[in-house]
C-alpha cells in the first residue's frame, strides 16, 4: 500500500520548491466543481462562443462544399498529378494525426509517469486528439479515387473471395488509425463518466439531467467502482502509450516502406513520433492559451503547464532537429546518388523554399528561444511559437510528400505541384470543423476532469487519525 506517499507532500504543491503551482491556491472541492461544471451548465451561451462557433461552422462548410465537388468530379480537382500523386490530403492527414498525438501523450504517458500537472489539461488535450483524428481520418477516405469502395480496405467476407493486402502500409494505417480513434474515444469517454455524474447531479434542466444521466451510466462514486475505474484507466493509459507510438510509426511507414529517396529511411518512425508530439503540444498551447483566458481558468491551467509544455516541445523539437540533421548526414554518408540528389533538390530545387520554411519554423526559431525560461512562461510568446511550430510541422509533411515525389528516379517524369483552391478549401475547412467540434466540447462537456483536480487539492489529504485507523487494519 502506498499509504506513505499520500502522507508525503506533493512537491508540486510546495511553494518552497520554486515550481509553479499546478493549481492556484484557494480551490476547494466545491469551488472546483462549480468552476468547471458551471461552464457547461450555464443556460446562457456567450455571444463570443456563438460568434466563434458560427465562424468555425462557416469555415467547416468549405469542407462540405469541397468534398461534394470532389465526389462529383474526382480527385482531379486537386493539384495531384503524375509524379506527385499524393498532395494536400496526405499532408493534412499526417499533420492532423500528429496533432492528435499530444492528447494521448498527455493523458496516457504522463499519467503513467505520474506527472500530476497533466490533470488540468488532459481532458481537452484528449478532446483535441479525437477531433484531430476526426479531421485526419476524413482524408484517407476522401483522397482515394473511388471513396464509395473504401470498405474494401476492411477484411470482411465477400462474394469476390478477395481480401485486403496486408503488406501495404495503407492497410496498416487503417488498423492503426481506427484503433487509435476507438481507443481514444473510449479513453476519453471513460474519463468523463464520473464527471458526467457530477453534471447530472448539478444540472438544472430536465433535459440536461436526462442526457448527462444517460451518459453517466448511473455513476454514483462507489469506491469499488472507483478502484476498477482507476485500474481500467491505468490499463488504458498503458495501452494507449504503445498505441500512440505505433500510430505515427505506422504513418511514417507509409513513406518509409516506399522505395522513394526521401521516404525510404529508417529514421522516420522516431522522428515522426517526436514531430507529432511536437506539433501536438503546439496545438495544445494554441488551444489552451485562449481557453484559460476566456473561461478564467488561469488557476487551473497555470504558467507551470505552459512552461512544462514548452519543455516538452524543446525536447521533441530537438529530436526532430536530430532527425533532419540525420537525413542530411545520411544523404552524404550513404554515398548514394539518390539520397544526395534528393537532399540537394529538397534544399535547392525549385521547391527548396518549403524546406527553409520548415527549418525556420521547426528548428531555427523555436529551438533557440525555448531554452529561455522567461520566454517559456511568456504567454503571448508561447502562443506565437505554437502557431509557428504548427505551420512548420505542416511544411515538414509538405516537404516529405511533395519534394520527394516531384523529382524522383527518372528525370523524364519529373513534374511539379501547385495546390488548387480545392486543396486549400479542404485544408482550411478541416480547421473550421475542428474549431466547431472543439467549441461544442467546451460548451457541453467538462473540459477539465473534476475528480482528478479534486484529488490534487490539499483537502484530499487524509487526516492523520483516519490514516492511523486504516493502518491499524492492515
Amino acid at each position: 500500500m502506498a499509504t506513505n506517499e499520500i502522507l508525503t507532500e506533493d512537491p508540486g504543491l510546495d511553494p518552497a520548491t520554486g515550481e509553479f503551482r499546478v493549481i492556484a491556491p484557494g480551490f476547494s472541492f466545491k469551488s472546483v466543481t462549480a468552476k468547471i461544471a458551471d461552464i457547461v451548465l450555464t443556460p446562457k451561451t456567450s455571444l463570443g462562443w456563438l460568434l466563434f462557433f458560427a465562424i468555425g461552422g462557416a469555415v467547416a462548410t468549405l469542407v462540405l462544399v469541397a468534398v461534394t465537388w470532389l465526389f462529383l468530379k474526382g480527385t482531379g480537382i486537386w493539384a495531384i498529378s503524375q509524379p506527385v500523386a499524393w498532395g494536400f490530403a496526405i499532408i493534412n492527414f499526417v499533420w492532423w494525426i500528429g496533432i492528435g498525438h499530444a492528447g494521448t501523450l498527455i493523458s496516457a504517458i504522463l499519467l503513467l509517469f505520474k506527472q500530476s500537472w497533466r490533470n488540468s489539461i488532459n481532458r481537452f488535450a484528449e478532446a483535441m486528439t479525437i477531433f484531430a483524428v476526426v479531421c485526419a481520418g476524413m482524408f484517407p477516405l476522401i483522397h482515394v479515387g473511388r471513396p464509395w469502395l473504401g470498405y474494401w480496405l476492411f477484411p470482411y467476407p465477400n462474394t469476390m473471395n478477395v481480401w485486403p493486402q496486408f503488406r501495404s502500409p495503407l492497410l496498416w494505417d487503417v488498423f492503426a488509425v481506427s484503433t487509435y480513434a476507438t481507443i481514444s474515444i473510449v479513453f476519453w469517454y471513460v474519463g468523463m463518466i464520473p464527471d458526467f455524474g457530477t453534471l447530472r447531479d448539478r444540472a438544472h434542466s430536465n433535459f440536461a439531467k436526462y442526457i448527462y444521466g444517460l451518459v453517466a451510466l448511473g455513476w454514483r462514486g462507489s469506491v469499488r467502482h472507483w478502484m476498477r475505474y482507476e485500474t481500467a484507466s491505468l490499463l488504458l493509459a498503458g495501452l494507449a502509450t504503445p498505441l500512440v507510438l505505433s500510430v505515427h510509426t505506422v504513418i511514417s511507414f507509409d513513406f518509409a516502406v516506399a522505395v522513394l529517396p526521401g521516404w525510404h529511411t529508417t529514421i522516420f518512425p522516431p522522428y515522426f513520433v517526436a514531430g507529432a508530439v511536437y506539433s501536438g503540444f503546439a496545438m495544445v498551447l494554441t488551444l489552451a492559451i485562449p481557453l484559460r483566458k476566456v473561461y478564467h481558468l488561469e488557476g487551473l491551467v497555470t504558467e507551470r503547464h505552459i512552461d512544462n509544455m514548452g519543455k516538452v516541445m524543446l525536447a521533441t523539437g530537438s529530436i526532430v532537429a536530430y532527425g533532419y540533421g540525420m537525413e542530411v548526414f545520411m544523404s552524404w554518408y550513404s554515398a548514394s546518388h539518390w539520397e544526395a540528389f534528393m537532399m540537394w533538390n529538397r534544399m535547392f530545387g525549385p521547391m527548396g523554399w518549403s524546406y527553409w520554411v520548415l527549418i525556420f519554423c521547426n528548428i531555427a526559431f523555436p529551438l533557440t528561444t525555448l531554452w529561455v525560461r522567461k520566454l517559456r512562461t511568456n504567454i503571448s510568446f508561447m502562443f506565437l511559437i505554437s502557431i509557428i511550430v504548427n505551420i512548420g510541422m505542416w511544411f515538414e509533411r509538405f516537404v516529405i510528400v511533395v519534394t520527394s515525389l516531384y523529382r524522383d528516379f527518372l528525370p523524364s517524369s519529373w513534374g511539379t505541384y501547385r495546390a488548387t483552391k480545392w486543396d486549400y478549401m479542404t485544408y482550411i475547412g478541416t480547421m473550421g470543423l475542428f474549431t466547431a467540434l472543439f467549441l461544442l466540447f467546451v460548451r457541453f462537456l467538462p473540459m477539465i476532469p473534476m475528480n482528478e483536480i479534486k484529488m490534487m487539492l490539499p483537502s484530499a489529504k487524509l487526516t492523520a487519525k483516519a490514516e492511523k485507523a486504516v493502518g491499524a487494519g492492515d
Binding site: 465537388w69 465526389f71 462529383l72 468530379k73 474526382g74 480527385t75 482531379g76 480537382i77 493539384a79 495531384i80 498529378s81 503524375q82 509524379p83 506527385v84 500523386a85 499524393w86 483522397h143 482515394v144 479515387g145 473511388r146 471513396p147 464509395w148 469502395l149 474494401w152 480496405l153 465477400n158 462474394t159 469476390m160 478477395v162 481480401w163 485486403p164 493486402q165 503488406r167 501495404s168 502500409p169 495503407l170 492497410l171 487503417v174 507509409d254 516502406v257 516506399a258 522505395v259 522513394l260 546518388h337 540528389f341 540537394w344 535547392f348 525549385p350 515525389l405 524522383d408 528516379f409 527518372l410 528525370p411 523524364s412 517524369s413 519529373w414 513534374g415 511539379t416 501547385r418 480545392w422
Partner: protein, 1027 residues
Amino acid sequence: MTSERGNDMMNQDNGMTLAEVRAKLNGSRGKRYWRSIDELAGTPEFEAAVAREFPDQAQEWVDPVSRRGFMKLMGASLALAGLAGCTKQPDEPIYPYVKQPEDLLLGRPDYFATAYPSPTGGVPLLVKSDAYRPIKVDGNPDHPYNLGSSDPYTQGTLLDLYDPDRSQHSTLRGERREWAEFVQVFRDKLIASRGNGGEGLYFLTSTITSPTLARQWKEAQAAYPKARLVQYDPINRDAVRAAIGAKDLQYDLSAADVVVSLDADFLSTAAFPGFHKLVREFVARRKSPEKGLNRLYVVESTTSTTGLKAEHRLGLRAGEVPAFTAALARELGVSVNAPAATWPDSEANFVKALAKDLKANAGKSVVIAGEQQDPSVLALAVAINQALGNFGKTVFATETVQPLPTSQTAELKALVSDLWSGKVDWLVILNANPVYNAPADLNFKAALDKAKTSVHLGTHIDETGSETLWHLSGTHYLETWSDVRSYDGTVSIVQPLIDPLYHGHSAHELVQLLSDEPSLSPYEAVRTTWRAQLSKSGEFEANWRKALHAGWVEGTAFEKGTAVTAASLPVPAPSSRDSVEVIFRADPSIYDGRFSNIGWLQELPKPVTNLSWDNAALLSGATLTKLNIEEGDILEVTVGGQTVKTPVLVVPGHPDNSVTVYLGYGREQAGRVGSGAGFNAYLLRTSATPFLATGAKLAKTDGKWGFAVTKSHFQDHRSKFFGGEGSGNNSLEGNEAETRGIIRWATLEEFKSNPGFANEGENHPKVERDVTLFPNWEYNGNAWGMSIDLNSCVGCNACIVSCYAENNIAVVGKQQVRIGRNMQWLRIDTYFEGDLATPRAHFQPMACQHCENAPCEQVCPVGATVHTPEGLNTMVYNRCVGTRYCSNNCPYKVRRYNFLLFSDFETESLKLMRNPDVSVRSRGVMEKCSYCVQRISAAKIEADKENREVRDGEVVTACQQACPASAITFGNLNDKSSRVAKLAKDERTYSVLADLNTRPRTTYVAAVLNPNPELAEAPVEHAPAKG
C-alpha cells in the same frame, strides 16, 4: 492567331442542322470529352502570366458536371464494384442477328488487308475487325514494303474514322441535301458543258495517290478536254519535281555503310516518302555492333530525331544547307554551279571529314536530300550519289509513286488567277482544305467566292467545306474501295472495312460522274483498273481475291533503275547570318493539319520538343537570349507583311537566328479537338517560299503561353559543389540520366574493347538475383518479358498511338497534360546529352517494366495490382480504389491515373472503336501498360485448346507491332529459343534502375554508336574501361 469569324459563320450556317444530325446519331451532342470548347473554339487568347513551373488547374467550376450526374456515376461505379454491396446490375438486352453472315464468328476478330493512302505513298495495312467494326489498324506483316510496321499517322487514322465531328450529311448553303440531289445538279452542268469541252470546270484535289482515280480522271479529261485538275497539298514534292522531274529516288540503306542526310528527316515521320522501309533498313545495320555498324551524318536545320540519332550532326540554318551541299559536292569533285562560300573551321572540318568518309565508302554510301529543301540540294545529292557510284547499289531511280505528278504550287497559283479572272464556273474541291492551307499570298478564301459554283467533298465540314456552296459528306479510306501504291510501287487495293458511317461518298464516285458510266461503283472502278494486270497469269477473279487477301497486287513494284537526270539548278547563296529565317515543316503529330481532330495525335508529345496540343516558334537558346525573352513568351513573327503571334519554345540544337514553325495548327473548324489549338503558321507562308522564308522580324509582345510539354526542361544550374557541371549549360535530366545509369551507351571502339560495358562500373549497376532477404519467386511456366533496343528506337511515336488504340486509352486534353496527367501507357523519354547547342539525344521507350519485385504491388492495400504466375504485373481495374500509392512507389513513374472521368462513355461513334477485350477505365482507377495482356490471354487460350505451348512470336504487343524499327521484342523468357530470351542474355542488355533490385522484365539493349574518329567527340566518358 486565328480569328473567331469562321466559327461564328459555321454556327450561323450550319448550327441547326448540325445539331439535328448529331442528335440523331448520338442522341446528343456529346460531352466535351477532350477539353473545354471555350478554350478551343474561337478565342485563342493567351493565358495570363502562367509560369511554366506552375501550370494552373483546369477550371472545374466552369465545366458542367454533365447530364451524367452524380447518382448515375455512383450507380455505375457501384455496379463496377462487382455486386459487392447491395447493388444489382441493370438488365442487359441481347440483339441477335436476324440473318447472321456465314463467315462471322462473333467474339473473335477478323483481319482484312487494306492500305492507308498516305500522300507520300500507301501504307499497307492489316486491319483488325470485330463484328465488322475496324478496331485496330496495323501494318501488313506480309507486305514487302513495310513488313507490318506502321507510323503514328496511320495508327491515328482509326480515330479519324470514328471522329464524332465528321460531316454527317451533304449540305447546300448549310441546308441538308442528299447526294442524289447533287448528282442531279452536277449532271445537268456536265451535260451543259459537254459542248465546250468542260470549260470552266475545275477540280482541286489533294495529291492523287490512287491509280484508279488517276485513270478515272484521264478518262474524264478525254471527255472534257478543257476541264482542269489541280492537285495541291501544302506539304508537296515540288522540289523533287524541279530537281529530277517525274521520278522518285529509292534508297537501299541495308547496303549503305555511310548515310548522309541533307536536311532529310527520314527517320522521324511518315511524311518522308519511304519512311517505313528506310527506318527498317537503317536500324537493321545497327542491331549487331559485333558485325559492324553504319554511320549517320546529318546536316540539318530544324532539330529532328534523325539528327539526334546521328553519329555526327551539323546544325545549319536552312538557307545554308544548299551552299553546304555545294561545298560537299565540290569536295567530292562534282562540278557545282555556284561560287565557293567560306565556312568556319567546324563546318569546313565537317565537310572534309564527311567527304573523306564518303569517298572511302563509295558505292556503299547514300546521300539523302530533304524534299523540303531547295531543289538544288536534291539535284546535287543526285550528282553526289552518281559521283560516288551509289546509283544501282544504294540509290535507285524509279517511276514516281504519284500517278499524276505535277508542280502543285504553280498549278494552284494558276487556279487562283483563273478564279480571279472569272474563268472558273464550277470548282470541285476533293478532300482538300485550301481555304486553310493554301499559301497566304494567294488569298484563296477570297478567290473561292469568285467561283460560280463551289463544291467540297470531304470527311469534315472544315474551313473549306463551310465556305463552298455545296458540301458533300466524304468517306474515310476504311469506308470505300480504292487503291494506292506504296513508295516501292507495289499496289495495294484499299478495301473498305465498314459501310460509310454517314452515307459518305468518295472522290471515285464523283469523278466517275464525268465518264460514260457515271454510276460505276468505286469497287468496279478499281477492278477495272487492275483487270489487265490481274489477268496476266491465271483467272482475274482468283487473282483479285488473292490480291485482296494478301493486300497487294503481285508484280506491281517499280522497276529500280539508275537513269535519272538532275536538273542543273542554281545554288542559292545563304542569307546573312543576322537575318532571321522561318522554316516551315509539317507537324510531326498532325502533319499538315489533316489530323488535327485526332486526340491521340494532338496529345502525342512531339519528338524532340515533347510538346503536345500546340505548335510554337522553335528557337535556339542563343536566339532566345539574344531576343531577351523566355520560353512561353509571345513573339510576333512578321514575314513579308504577314504577322502571327506565337509562343516560343527552345529546341536544343536549333540553328541560331532561325525559327521553325510547324504547320497544321490554328485551325478554326477542325472539330472539338483540333479547333483553336496552336497558331496558324500558314498565314506566314507564301507560294514563293513554301518551306523557308527569310528576312523575318521577331518582336516580343505581351502575354505568356502555357505549354503542355510532357517532360520538364530544366537546365542544370547546379554548381559543381552540388554535383552539377557548373556551366549552367547542360541539361539536368541528361546529366542525371547518365549518372543514374538510365541511358547506357558506348562507341563502337569502346564496345569492342569492352562488350560488357552496359553492366560494369559504378554508374552501371546490374540486377543481382542472389541479393535478397527472402526466397526468389520461381516462374516455371511462361515468363513474359520485353526487350527494347535503344540503338534502334528512333523516337517516332508509332508505338504510343498503337497503344492508344489497342488499350482504349483516354485523351485528357491540354490542361490535364500540362499538369502531368496524360494517360499514355507508353512514353518515349528523350534525354539530351552534351551541350544544349549541339546535343545528342537518346530515346527510351518507357512503359511498365513488370518488375518481379514490384514496389507498386506491395503497397496496394486492396491487392488491385498483383503478380501473375507468368510474371505480369497485372492491374485489376475493378478492384482499384485509387489510393495512388502504387504510382508514388513506382520508380519508373509509368502508372497512369484517372484523376477525372477521362474516358468517354457517351459518344456513340467512339464506342464502336473500342477494343472489346480491354476494359474502359472509369474515374479514380489506376491503369498502366499490361504487356497487352488481352493478346497474351487470347494466345494462351488458342494454345491451350491445341494443347501446346505458346509459340515465340505468337504474342505481339501493340507497340511492338507498330514499331517501324523493330526496336521492341516481346516473348517468353523461359523459352530459351525465343528472341527475347536471347536478347535478355545479350551483353549489352541492362535494366533501368537495376540497383533498386526491382528486377524489371523489360530490359534495354544499350546503344553503340559509330562515330568518325576524325570528327572529335566531346570528351565525355560514356562507358567505363574494361576492369
